[in-house]
């Protein structure tokens, strides 16, 4: 299914990598796209964003206003492949961009690994809506580790959705917000037979920056989920943290550790957190409509995972 969808959409991807091979780089007006390795050689300024010369991954530099969404796709189709991606996305001043980023396995049970270390830089006044979709096999290991740097007055909407989780998921994201920057972050993770660790940090380091961090997790079928989220305010700024978990079966576990750290008396930080279960009443209601218990649980979870 994923494979067919991927093939159908193939021609539209600005960057498509399967296993370790780049299958397509679609260059369009206003955007520079290279492999990270090539970008390292071509642009000196790129080097400061990578620890060392990268071997795989992409560099996308949006220099002018574009009227199409950026599409990237990283897939795995071979058993035991271990990707080690280094990605960099830069959006220039006052440019508005939408990006759809898909990372997925093309087959089940590949026992593959996907490590992705990325940096996203929004220059002053830039706007980015970044839709990050993950879809993995039940035996994969996945470790995205991203930093978003929002310069003065930049705006970010970040939606991460993982409805088909790997066996092991370790997701770490840090958002740095400069003066008047704002970030709206939504993370959705459906744990099914998975071990998941989420570490999300929003750092308000510029005056009047604002950030909202929302996390929704579902724990099903022996899942173990740990969600550590933090908002740190160093200056007068506003932040809100909202973590909700839905625990579906007795063998799963969800731990939520929300933290607020305020280093300025003018800053305003708030949070709400809860972990609940599916109500029997909702289940019975849907079963009386003819849905099986599993279908009813799937529907309730899909609703819970919408923000």
């Amino acid at each position: 299914m994923v494979m067919r969808n991927v093939e159908n959409a193939f021609r539209k991807f600005n960057f498509w990598q399967r296993d370790h091979k780049i299958l397509q780089i679609l260059k369009q007006k206003g955007v520079e796209i290279f492999s990270s390795e090539e970008a390292w050689e071509k642009f000196n300024f790129v080097r400061k964003f990578f620890e060392k010369k990268p071997k795989e991954g992409y560099f996308i530099w949006v220099k002018r206003q574009i009227d199409f969404p950026l599409l990237t796709c990283i897939t795995i189709s071979t058993p035991k492949v271990s990707q080690d991606l280094k990605n960099l996305l830069i959006v220039e001043k006052k440019i508005k961009v939408k990006a759809k980023v898909l990372c997925a396995t093309e087959k089940e049970n590949l026992c593959a690994s996907h490590f992705a270390k990325g940096k996203v830089v929004l220059k002053p006044g830039a706007f980015l809506e970044y839709n990050h979709l993950h879809r993995w096999g039940k035996k994969d290991f996945v470790n995205p580790d991203y930093e978003f740097i929002l310069e003065k007055e930049a705006k970010l909407i970040y939606n991460y959705q993982n409805l088909f989780p790997p066996e092991n998921l370790l997701i770490r994201t840090v958002f740095y917000l400069k003066e008047n920057a704002s970030a709206n972050v939504n993370l959705i993770v459906n744990g099914i037979k998975s071990k998941i660790k989420i570490q999300e940090t929003l750092i308000l380091e510029g005056k009047n920056s604002q950030g909202i961090l929302k996390i929704r997790v579902v724990g099903r079928e022996n899942s173990k989920i740990l969600g550590e989220s933090m908002i740190l305010a160093k200056v007068p700024a506003k932040g809100h943290l909202d973590c909700q978990g839905l625990l579906v079966d007795k063998n799963s576990k969800i731990s939520m550790i929300p933290a607020l750290i305020c280093q300025n008396k003018e800053a305003q930080l708030t949070h709400e957190a809860s972990i609940g279960k599916i109500s029997e009443e909702q289940l019975t209601y849907l079963r009386m409509r003819g849905l099986s218990e599993k279908e009813a649980i799937d529907l309730i979870c899909s609703g819970f995972l919408k923000i």
């Binding site: 109500s279 029997e280 009443e281 909702q282 019975t284 209601y285 849907l286 079963r287 009386m288 409509r289 003819g290 849905l291 099986s292 218990e293 279908e295 529907l299 309730i300 899909s302 609703g303 819970f304 995972l305 919408k306």
Partner: protein, 236 residues
């Protein structure tokens, strides 16, 4: 002789530790339209929730028979598959799930109600009024294309124009198509527009009265309250 669609025999039910239904008997034939009346807390909703298999209510004695088959221990979804549909009095909210999504999964036939169109895009029972919930319930029940529909307080929270509209839908979609209907009503206003074959009165966990003269029953209840029903000679 007309075929019996639903038969409830000496049904005793408890919720947690309290016995709520104390030996209910009810017979509904194919194509019949029954109305169930009773004061608050008499067990009307518990009765219909039990008929539809809500696991919250434990059957301690008695049977529920649908089309000759004992369904007392059947799961709610299997009862739905047999052609039973219930409109809930207080349906729960299902956050994040649009009514259109649910209908896509459950519908056996396409139903169009002008008054319900704008509800399709809303989350199920979230941020809608009591009256809108009733319309949403009716739409779901109609979509299930049932042989037997139970409408629990379908008229509560509706203004008189909406009650007339709901009555019109019940008449057209159920009664004219010979779908058996059990309607629970508190105020009885909907009966200005509908004529049931029988009215049953439930008091303290028992059906104490059955009559084909619904006007007489309503008049008596209006005049004397349910106390009169306790003494009614038309005991079953």
């Amino acid at each position: 002789m007309e075929e019996i669609l639903l038969e409830v025999k000496n049904l005793k039910v408890k919720a947690e530790k309290e016995e709520i239904l104390k030996g209910v008997n009810l017979k509904i034939k194919k194509g019949e339209f029954h109305v169930l009346l009773g004061p608050n807390g008499s067990g009307k909703t518990v009765l219909v929730q039990t008929i539809f298999g809500n696991p919250k209510y434990k059957v301690i004695e008695g049977k529920i028979i649908f089309e000759g088959k004992n369904i007392t221990k059947l799961s709610p979804e299997k009862r739905a598959k047999l052609g039973m549909a219930l409109s809930w009095q207080n349906p729960p909210k299902i956050k994040g799930v649009k009514l259109s999504q649910l209908l896509k999964k459950i519908s056996k036939k396409k139903v169009e109600i002008k008054e319900a169109e704008y509800l399709l895009d809303k989350e199920i029972n979230v941020d809608i009024s009591g009256g809108e919930r009733k319309i949403s319930e009716l739409l779901q029940v109609l979509s299930l294309d049932p042989k037997f529909a139970v409408l629990d307080e379908i008229d509560s929270g509706l203004d008189i124009k909406k009650i007339e509209k709901v009555a019109e839908i019940i008449k057209k979609e159920f009664l004219e198509k010979k779908v058996s209907v059990l309607l629970i009503t508190h105020r009885g206003e909907i009966l200005n527009f509908l004529k049931p074959h029988f009215v049953e009165v439930m008091i303290s966990g028992k059906v104490v009265c059955k009559s084909s003269d619904f006007k007489k029953i309503l008049k008596t209840i209006k005049k004397y309250g349910y106390e009169k029903c306790r003494k009614c000679i038309q005991k079953i």
